[in-house]
Symmetry: C6
Subunit: 79 residues, 6 copies
């Protein structure tokens, strides 16, 4: 698939806290974009497109919510 | 990732009531937008774009629903 | 967050029947829109936009489905 | 909420078979549209808009998948 | 609902393998489109619209992922 | 359905690590596109459309998140 991009940092879904779980969710979402568009220059060009677009910011939020759902379950919700 | 933005207020998914769980869901959704677009002035500029757009209001609702699903499960649905 | 809007009517996800669970799902979805756009006049202005737009009606349906999934699980599917 | 529209036909998520569960999923999706747009004439006007639009057909499919996920779980997957 | 279209082939979510489960997920997604747009000629007309449209291909993928999630759980993930 | 395309590589959802699980999620998402648009030349033509489009990159991310949720659960989150 890809030799360069690590898709799951630390190769684990387990985190110490919800805060770290949330950070991992954001990283997973970003790494999917990275492997789909491996060209860093192109990603830099696209970054302001979604950071300054209300609609895209919302859909990014939905993706992070989905990643976080999996991570939260993996960690038994840090109960 | 980010030193400034706390992504999970209180660093817990546990809340006393469904009402507080719902408030947390909305906060999580907003904090994802905040970390993706850290520039407060830009966020202020974008706010009316989605608050006055029916389509975006609906997609925000879908994101909050997803965040809430995780929080509700974390709290065993406050049963 | 908001002092005026109650996000979870009755502050519970438990309902007597699937029918009431479905009504709650619709209410939750609407209350997210209400807190995101607290201006009643603006909401009234937006209402026909999505009630008369096939695409938006469908996405509203997806959101209600997501809210209902959580409520159904909270109620152990009224089995 | 609504006195006229029944949102969950039969007021149960339990069905005899996966086939009937799928039919219920489609009904639930349609009934959300019905309560959001109670005007039958308007719904009739909108119907061809999504039946002849590839993009909308796909999003309807996503909504039905979500409704079915809940119904399948309610029925313990008819195992 | 519909006398002609069978919505769940074989009327079961149980399959022998993940591969067959994935095929079923694709069939379920297609059958929802079929019942929403029963006119075969119209479906044929729409087919190239989404097969040649990057955006629609992606959303079809999301729907298949959702259908597969349910089927995988029904089969206890073929563990 | 399809004799040529294998939809689940290795015909299993079980992987050794989260990293491999994530790779499988991306493969599943791509294979759905492959079976929906079997023409390789057309897929090649569409590839830059979504790799250079911020909005599509985000929706691809949402699909991968959904596929990964299923795989992670199949593997009991590699706990």
């Amino acid at each position: 698939m890809s030799d360069q991009v690590q898709l799951v940092p630390g190769n684990t879904l387990i985190t110490d806290t919800p805060e770290e779980g949330r950070q991992l969710a954001i990283k997973l979402a970003r790494l999917t974009i990275k492997i789909t568009q491996p060209d860093a220059a192109m990603r830099e060009k696209l970054r302001p497109v979604y950071a300054e677009n209300a609609s895209m910011l919302i859909v990014i939020g939905a993706t992070v919510a989905a990643e976080f759902a999996t991570i939260a379950q993996a960690n038994n919700y840090w109960r």
